[in-house]
Symmetry: C2
Amino acid sequence: MSQALEQLREHLATIRDLNHAAGLLSWDQRTQMPRGGASTRAEQLATISRISHELFTGEKTLKLLDAINVADLPPDSDEARLISHTRYNYERSTKLPAEFIAKQSRVRALAGNVWEDARAKSDFAMFQPHLETIVDMVREQAELLGYDEHPYDALLNSYERGLTTNQAIALFDELKAGTVPLALKIAAMGDDGRDAPLHGNYPEALQEEFGKKVTVRYGYDWNRGRQDRSTHPFCTNFGRDDVRITTRFNPNWLAPALFGTLHETGHALYEQNIKPELNRTPLGRGTSLGVHESQSRMWENIVGRSRPFWEFFYGDLQATFPEPLVNVDLEKFYRAVNTVKPSLIRVEADELTYNLHILLRMELEIALLEGKLKVADLPEAWNAKMQTYLGITPANDAEGVLQDIHWSGMMFGYFPTYTIGNVLSVQLFDTAVAKHPEIWDEMRRGEFGTLLGWMRENILQHGSKFLPNELIKRATGRPMDAAPYVKYLQTKFGELY
Amino acid sequence: MSQALEQLREHLATIRDLNHAAGLLSWDQRTQMPRGGASTRAEQLATISRISHELFTGEKTLKLLDAINVADLPPDSDEARLISHTRYNYERSTKLPAEFIAKQSRVRALAGNVWEDARAKSDFAMFQPHLETIVDMVREQAELLGYDEHPYDALLNSYERGLTTNQAIALFDELKAGTVPLALKIAAMGDDGRDAPLHGNYPEALQEEFGKKVTVRYGYDWNRGRQDRSTHPFCTNFGRDDVRITTRFNPNWLAPALFGTLHETGHALYEQNIKPELNRTPLGRGTSLGVHESQSRMWENIVGRSRPFWEFFYGDLQATFPEPLVNVDLEKFYRAVNTVKPSLIRVEADELTYNLHILLRMELEIALLEGKLKVADLPEAWNAKMQTYLGITPANDAEGVLQDIHWSGMMFGYFPTYTIGNVLSVQLFDTAVAKHPEIWDEMRRGEFGTLLGWMRENILQHGSKFLPNELIKRATGRPMDAAPYVKYLQTKFGELY
């Protein structure tokens, strides 16, 4: 058996290497590649992905899995978890027939192009037939993957293993009850211009330098990372020792690059702190999108938009950007970075209203999947929900139903993980602080070692060894719970507005 | 048969994609990767190379080759050449047993590390036992690969298919007779300091900008390329539509980055101008190291160090770098960039003495291979030849026998391709000018389209479709010939000294 285990490890390491190579091809495509390289790069990516997929779904994987009796292994050992994780993914990957996957690739590629055009022209009708095909295929996908209660479960599980539709709905109900009234109240107050200090002369190079200083204090290891520019910021990695972030700078607006950097650094800290033993195994990555997002949102928002954080960093920031900040005191700046302003675009949303954008999308996805909503009626349903939850209505579909790339990529069930991340960020942070109350004081001194240390010990180091539910319960003593997050939002924004 | 051909193409395209992915992993390693990523990157590279090698040497390749009757195809068709090229490489690749290749990897990795240390400490004795193993293995490799006349033929053919030891010796004899007396005469004259204008305040960003302007005029397509920094300059590509160069800048010395850029651009022009039909096939790359080097050396030296070139560019250069160049006229600058100064280090050698460095190495490689020279006696033999050909003697082994990486990498037979490149550069350039005498006038106007066009038509577009000998004969009407190159050197440097 130990020989089969060794062979399985080697087999999976090969697949992991291929996936990391594909990751580098993508990173390069988005940050370095000359434009002319696009079509050849697509071929290279397709080849690597195909070989990796063939290796993983091939009979060798099953044969090696079958040769190992997982019951002989301690249930919490890395080995036992590697095997159950691999078997789950193997079984899942063999549920979608090759023809379905091929069709999916074609439909996504075409729909992606059409979506870009449609958004540019704000013309939903162009995109509608493609989205209809996609909804049909998503329904088929759910049936192929299988589920216990609701077809949406199957989709959620692609991104957040173990999450059920009922769980997600209950969570959003709690959020809705706890935050919509506050969001609508703030919307009714109108814009008081408190975010003005964030706009002004913010030279790109200085933004980059300041952001880097913060990430160093957060604990991002630049010897195992780097930062580049890209149109859409992201974090990617090729093993725990090469974890890269990207940023988009606006020389007249501080917020996107600064908080974008802190956000991506949160993702990077997860990957850099996975224990080395899991490198080159399928467990050597964050356990789910939601748990990943808990880290990015924590370092971006709970830490990066807190008073203690800015008590330490604001003097330096003010000295770095005297022109826009000379007459802005700490409190005024703190209020600026925590401006709540109901907006049409999800990626620009503040902490309080962000989840309402997600809620809206999840409800629409479920209605489409259940056939209760027709694709043709989607723009109208979108606009109605925007009015209900945020008190505003898009002027056109480009800033409404066409704004996100996800649906053209057939990524139904993805959106909720953003909110799961928010919910978990507070649950985890509160637990860390309860255990180590000195975290706040450290923050005032620009130190984050205790916080990162607790996260490393309880979350990060384990990679995908534990399922999200199990990991959260181990770390906090209870399942995912929206209450701390609702309380955090009410306290923070109740005071600010 | 056409189905087998289609399958073979697809099979080879997959392998090509893998090799290009490995190429990107290497490029990234040398230009972008954070230091911490080194060991994981090594694993990724090993995995991709192993899969590519297994696919190519596997039975599928042979089965598909055997299913195609090459005699049915027009002998000069891309298809016929693809098949004969593939069969040759297949047969060659299966001649080295897996154990030999594995041992080779281990010995190279270890010897590479030891060589670095040995060079740093100028301690040949440290490196000696490793080089002894390497010489033994190189001898074994030659026997495994097979040869008609001389074991060195087998090694030369790894880099320059069709080249024989006798041919190489005859070529170097001609060069020796034609250039050693001139080189020794110049050495005896002593250094008159004529290269002084190249040293001074040359800000890096301005060097980069000026170099870029030249490459644009050369015809390097920046939409399908980019330039980065690396310790050792190189050119790499991932298909004809993504061909990248790297450069090393010295802010106090113009020559290395400028001529390095022109050199790598020559390599890049080759790859960018291969006809698109050969993309993703094994023919879609330069046909040999020597022919590749003919392009880099032509654009670097014959063009880039010529009077007509500088008649066009010098005004701009002087305006860009007024401080070091204000009192330097065109003729003085032209003489500076063509300084001949016998030096100890090959990579810093001028046009005239460069080949003598190569000659020395080739003679030593042959003597080692034949057993006429013992590794222990190598430093002494090296120093003696330096005195004979260049009139100087290294003060230590770091600037002598330990200076090159090649032997630690088991790359015997590689060095001669540098000189082949020089020889071919003049033979090809002269042919182009004989056909299109306007090339010189165009150069004076900063135009290079006719020269590049002739090269594209006769050399570049064909990729590896024709063997080097055949390609040169088709392009120039005769086999490789050192006479034009000797004449070029004698004329140019006879006038200058």
